[in-house]
């Protein structure tokens, strides 16, 4: 009797459970019962910052989600600089937030391979019409950006990076003026300017002449010399070839890349490049040299000298050297077609990625959150904030961002950590003008120019969706350090040894997994698109 009763009760329980799950309680775009989700947020531990999981911005998001979808939101903080390690830990103990984002696609695919990530495809199919704001932001076609051509699975949603400028070259305008030189517009003129800096160290630096660094770089040569390196890549190279040889985001494997490094090696041996760059693994030393006014020219993120307000390189330079000391952007490295080529990431697909771990019990609520956070109004509020406290509107409708303190402080620039699907200002027509105003103390036209140069003659390599390249999963970080080692050694070698160093390093890079990636990309490209690329 007892047993039968137990069976009946169990069945009854099961029946109620099924009805609960069958009716997802989602009526007219809103849950009938309050749902609860957890969301990842970067923690930057900034001085004077607020608790990233509980502040005026999270209040805004929580309230918005509750009103719009009846979903309760809770934030879980993850270290900004240890994001992958932290996510690894959280995923491993089954405690990851319901919505995670990271810059690292291999991390997501790795977990997907272990069964740890939700396949979004069925949800996107079924609830696609609920995701209007997300579609408007990243484009409807990009919803399935990562759909595996073989299995049809979608493990992540790509975010947008509206301003996809990467790198610009900067040079000391006051030094050029002092020596009667014009801003360089060709590689040769750039070289001449560096030689002039070197030869006139006494004039430019006086007692500190021995500290002169005409051109500085870092061990991340792939980034810090990119524009010069890729100016040797033939202009007529096809997208297919660039895809096959495009694993490394520093373009290391692009055709003829070696010649750009050879030129840097020659300059190094002419005494034009910072001699000890190879020994310093962080940027403090080099930044300090720039701030002290010893560096003539460098290539870096397009806004590098303008960042950090009062502590920016530009501001320090003025303080240490004088009013007229400044870095100006130039654009001078022509390729064989005579244009200053830049290889840019696509606006969608080359920045952050969002995914739902398998432990997420509310995939729909999570998707709705992603939609909510992608809406233009949400983004605008989070990026600008409170008028008078966080920004002032200028006469031409641009947002002049004010340095807020206290509870209205933003832990990340423009709150990019909260706007997880968009990285960078996204304010419609006001974007460019507002960007120019977001670097206090820097003339707007210089900021605009630096950004424009970083995108002049930009080329975005077509996206070939060939599914997961298995060979890329294991080797990521070790190939990155191999690349840096090979480039650093090649640049610091003597001119005679350059070929030997570069070739040996490249052979090592390829043997350590680089070749396997190229081969798999060729194979998959042929398989999915039927395109053959020569090895």
């Amino acid at each position: 009797m007892k047993r039968i009763l137990a069976l009946v009760l169990a069945l009854a329980l099961l029946a109620t459970l099924t009805t609960v799950f069958a009716d997802d309680g989602f009526v007219d775009g809103k849950f009938t019962e309050t749902r609860h989700i957890t969301v990842e947020i970067f923690n930057r531990n900034n001085d004077g910052g607020t608790d990233p999981t509980n502040n005026v911005w999270t209040d805004f998001i929580k309230q918005g989600m509750l009103e719009k979808y009846n979903v309760e939101v809770e934030f879980v903080s993850v270290g900004r600089w240890t994001e992958v390690d932290d996510l690894n830990n959280l995923l491993a103990i089954g405690d990851a937030p319901d919505i995670c984002y990271t810059y690292s696609a291999p991390t997501i695919l790795n977990y997907a391979g272990m069964g740890g990530v939700i396949d979004l495809a069925p949800y996107l199919e079924e609830y696609g019409d609920q995701l209007g704001d997300l579609k408007a932001l990243i484009g409807e076609e990009n919803l399935f950006y990562d759909k595996d051509p073989a299995t049809g699975t979608v493990y992540m949603l790509q975010g947008a990076m509206p301003n996809n400028g990467r790198i610009t070259t900067f040079i000391r305008k006051d030094w050029l003026d002092k020596l009667g030189l014009a801003e360089p517009t060709t590689t040769e003129q750039f070289h001449d300017a560096l030689v002039a800096f070197r030869d006139n160290a006494e004039t430019l630096l006086g007692a500190d002449a021995d500290k002169m660094v005409p051109y500085s770089t870092s061990t991340d040569i792939g980034w810090r010399n990119d524009l010069m390196s890729i100016s040797f890549v033939p202009d007529d190279v096809t997208d297919e070839t660039l895809f096959v040889y495009g694993y490394d985001d520093r373009h290391l494997l692009y055709p003829n890349y070696k010649e750009g490094i050879r030129q840097l090696n020659a300059w190094y041996n002419e005494g034009l490049v910072w001699k000890d760059f190879a020994l310093y693994s962080d940027s403090t030393e080099e930044d300090n040299m720039m701030k002290a006014g010893y560096v003539g020219a460098f290539m870096h993120n397009w806004d590098y000298p303008f960042r950090n307000g009062e502590d920016s390189i530009a501001a320090n330079l003025v303080r240490n050297v004088g009013e007229d000391a400044m870095y100006v952007p130039i654009d001078c490295f022509q390729n064989d077609a005579g244009i200053t080529r830049k290889f840019l990431g696509s606006v969608v697909g080359s920045d952050r990625k969002t995914f739902l771990p398998a432990t997420c019990e509310e995939p729909l609520a999570a998707l709705l959150y992603i939609n909510f956070i992608s809406s233009a109004d949400t983004i605008k509020y989070l990026q600008t904030g409170l008028e008078g406290t966080n920004f002032e509107l200028t006469a031409d409708g641009a947002y002049q961002i004010l340095p807020a303190t206290g509870e209205w402080v933003k832990n990340s620039g423009n709150n990019i950590d909260y706007t997880m699907t968009v990285n960078g200002l996204y304010l419609g027509e006001a974007t460019d003008a507002s960007t120019a105003l977001s670097y206090p103390g820097i003339p707007a036209d210089i900021v605009i120019q630096a950004n424009a140069y970083s995108k002049t003659n930009g080329r975005i390599v077509k996206h070939f969706n060939v599914g997961t390249i298995v060979a890329e999963n294991d080797v990521g970080t070790s190939l990155t350090s191999k690349r840096d080692a090979l480039l650093t050694k090649a640049v610091t070698a003597s001119v005679e040894d350059f070929d030997a160093e570069f070739d040996a390093g490249m052979a090592d890079y390829l043997a350590s997994g680089g070749q396997a990636i190229i081969d798999e990309r060729i194979e998959k490209l042929a398989e999915v698109y039927g395109i053959q690329v020569e090895k």
């Binding site: 390690d85 491993a92 061990t219 000890d276 020994l279 693994s281 070790s478 650093t488 350590s512």
Partner: protein, 321 residues
């Protein structure tokens, strides 16, 4: 550890006596319960942090999946040895293995005699206050982290901007070529740990009976003779025990030291197993591979430990156990 150690024979005798007198473990527990209570914490520590994690060694033989407990994951290919085979086919692992052995051997060869020499020198110092101050100063570097030391190193030894090269107008790449880097690496290790490592030797030195020195003096021995015939034999067993322990670490590798001192020019010499494990395991989520490598490392260490202990006993020393 050495002085208080009983031989097995003595222990057997104790046990026999206790049995005769009818002592059981309960009697001991009752009498010394406070001592046993004190033991609970360390034992709990070992169980929780040393023995329980051992279950996860299984990962080395399983498919790469940390989302499930290792006993639920399927076995890896090649009878579970997939990751070991993969590691030994991986050029990066072989390089890391070589670098680890080279650096540790150099450390052992150059690093072992240094604290002994230093301890003897300190022992010979006549003026106690000077001795004490010297000792304290020698211990200080031990308390600096490698992160700090590495940045001091760059300030001093950078090829062109370093203080030393600037002072002498030279451009010696102290940390810029692989061989120089190895030398700098070893020297820094000695500088940091030498003073600290003298502690054990100094303790052993105090145990040498002063009568022996007096007797040697009567026989007309000078300072050097005394060191050679009294001091060194007196600390011989300590030297051998420490050597055995160090041999046990021949494949073990520190992380901070090579990681912070390295730069891209010398990666060929500085990538040790610990860095390989960090890059593949923690950064690349290859948990099975890095567990396999870690297991291999431990295994070799245990073999070396057993071997050197056996050798020590063979040569008439006491060994570690």
């Amino acid at each position: 550890m050495l002085q208080g150690e009983r031989t097995t024979k003595q222990a057997d005798a104790y046990r026999l006596r206790n049995k005769k007198m009818g002592f059981s473990w309960k009697t001991y527990l009752k009498r010394y319960w406070t001592l046993y209570l004190l033991l609970v914490l360390p034992i709990a520590f070992f169980i929780i942090f040393r023995y329980t994690p051992m279950a996860y060694i299984l990962l080395a033989f399983k498919k790469n999946n940390i989302l499930q407990p290792p006993w639920q994951v399927a076995w890896a290919k090649d009878n579970g040895f997939e990751w070991f085979i993969k590691a030994f086919n991986d050029k990066n692992f072989i390089d890391a293995l070589r670098n680890t052995i080279v650096l540790n051997l150099l450390d052992l060869i150059v690093g072992t005699p240094m604290p002994i020499i230093m301890a003897i020198l300190l022992n010979e110092l006549a003026y106690p206050r000077f001795k004490r101050i010297t000792q304290t100063v020698l211990y200080l570097p031990h308390f600096l982290s490698w992160v700090i030391i590495s940045s001091i190193t760059l300030r001093l030894f950078a090829t062109n901007d370093g203080l030393i090269n600037r002072a002498f107008g030279t451009a010696i790449p102290f940390v810029g070529t692989e061989n120089n880097w190895r030398a700098t690496y070893i020297m820094l290790g000695i500088w940091k740990e030498c003073g600290w490592n003298t502690i054990i030797y100094l303790a052993a030195l105090t145990a040498i009976s002063p009568e022996l020195y007096e007797a040697a003096e009567v026989d007309g021995a000078g300072r050097l003779r005394k060191i050679w015939h009294v001091t060194l034999p007196g600390i011989r067993s300590t030297i051998i025990v420490l050597l055995i322990m160090n041999l046990g670490h021949i494949l073990g590798s520190e992380f901070d030291r090579p990681f912070t001192l390295s730069n891209p020019l010398v990666e060929g010499a500085s990538k040790t197993i610990s860095i390989f494990v960090y890059e593949r395991g923690i950064q690349g989520s290859q948990f099975s591979l890095s567990t396999a490598v870690g297991l291999f490392q431990s295994l070799v260490c245990v073999i070396f430990l057993l071997l050197s202990n056996w050798l020590a006993k063979k040569f008439g020393e006491r060994g570690v156990w």
